[in-house]
Amino acid sequence: MIKTFLATAALGALLTVPAVAQDTNPAVVYDLGGRFDESFNQAAYTGAEAFMAETGVEYADFEIQNDSQREQALRNFARRGHDPIIAIGFSHGSAVETVSQEFPDTRFAIVDMVVDQPNVRSIVFKDHEGSYLVGVLAALASESDTVGFVGGMDIPLIRRFACGYAEGVLSVNPEADVLSAMTGTTGAAWNDPVRGGEITQSHVSAGADVVFHAAGGTGIGVLQAAADAGILGIGVDSNQNGLQPGSVLTSMLKRVDVAVQDAFTDAMNDEWTNGFEVLGLAEGGVDWALDDNNRGLITPEMEAAVAAAREAIIAGEVVVHDYMADNTCPATDG
């Protein structure tokens, strides 16, 4: 019985896969930090793996070690006939811009950045909406009315997280203090857990009892320091609730995995679209994470409050300010 089933499945695979594999030969280029950063890049990896598990189509991937490899990696993939090619992270912007013009027949996608070329799909997330939700949770979980934010590199994208978070916190508790600090101003800021931990300790000593990070690999140090200090951390991008079980209040999910899987699937089914793709709460692009690791930390009131905020944003009753729209943050500037 099982044998027959396996044989049929194998036969099915033989019949379908080669036909598909000819036109789809997807590739991913990760950003600095690498495939297993338990955060942003790993979400992309998860999406690519999910696509492979579902369709059986293999994909190629590359972890860059320094900035100069961005163009090389994209160009190599394009030259070898990979299509579509997804670049993960805003830093790939100029590389995608250049390489997409060299290979006009190859389909490219880039996450977190807009590249205005006819063969590029630009996938951007409404990070501020997800940050708003975890801000609501942070404000409700905080007993000291002081919460912290640790960013990675000081760029508008990360300020967008900080601003949405502050707005969420203040929507619940207008009196709350939101401490905010960036790890650095270079790419190294994504991968400096020691400094991340030290910033977290400075927030703790200033009274913060919930700290949200948007700092890639640096965030591992943030969550570690939060757990060591007995306060709550909030993860980002991937579900990081399991990194320090019981000490991570929640994670702001950025569904890079869904975006990657969708892009691959669209390419395979000839449904690929170029241009903008903006994924917010309504599109399922961002969200907050609830699982067995943090269920004990989330009270029914918190769940209700965050659900209400979620509905309000989706319905358009609450518009979370997007820092990148005008480079200002009314929640903290005012």
């Binding site: 950063d37 338990e38 400096d192 020691v194 030290e198 910033i199 400075s202 000593s205």
Partner: protein
Amino acid sequence: MGTFESFILLLDSTVRLSMPLLFAALAGLYSERSGVFDIGLEGKMLAAAFAAAAIGALAGNVWLGLLAGIAVSVGLALVHGFACITARGNQIVSGVAINFLAAGLTALIGHAYFSQGGRTPRLENEARFLPIEWPGAEQLADVPFLGPIYEELISGHNLLVYLGFVMVAVTWFVIFRTRFGLRLRAVGENPAAVDTAGISVTLMRYQAVIICGVLCGLAGAYLSTAQSASFVPNMSAGKGFIALAALIFAKWKPVPVLYACLLFGFLDALGIRLQGYEFPGIGEVPVQLIQALPYILTVVLLAGFIGKAEPPKAGGVPYVKER
């Protein structure tokens, strides 16, 4: 929170941040006092951080991790020693090679073995150096002035921090009050004279290089098993070079080395805390400026205040017996 408490917490953070610099600078002190320049402090620290975190994660024991860190660091120190002392190679080239080797190998081995992008798994608490609460810290916390100093600044650090301070005193004693120290200094100033006195220059320098390896091992283990709880590629982030600057800054003397390292740590801690701070009359200062502050101050201090730093005279020169 009052200004006084904030200041104590700032000093507390200073101590934590300056410790890896202190170990590495003391390591460099032994090596350079003996006449072997070592710009491979960074690499040894990084390799030790990796070994400590990797073995700590596999064995679940902080001491095995520390031993592994020291062993790897001493191994690299011996490579440097062989190249510079026995083979009489260029000390700078050898140091650079060790830095490159460590940066590449740690990431490669970590990636191949743990498959987490070069990181090591998070360490359980048994495999880390945890803060030690001193007796009575909680009870005394409310005593004005002395309470916070005792609770935050003196108590609550991990074992390696206390060891670091002890090492400064030990180093001072060894260098300036023992026969070994006298010979070590002499070998860095005038190896021919030491040789004439019937003492082996080669042996002295190897001993110095091994001590350097042990201290770099402590610096690395501190980074990955005390200050954080896993290894991350390139986590030393230039600390070895800053330690070298501190060593020059302190004119190769143990107690000034402590001050120099504390100063660098203080500027770093200050940079973290000043972000988003509203200065009276000026307003908020951009993050970039705050983060450049330690470097600006370093340049100013180096250029204006410390005067001429004279390295050991025979530093960087391989010793060749006259024939």
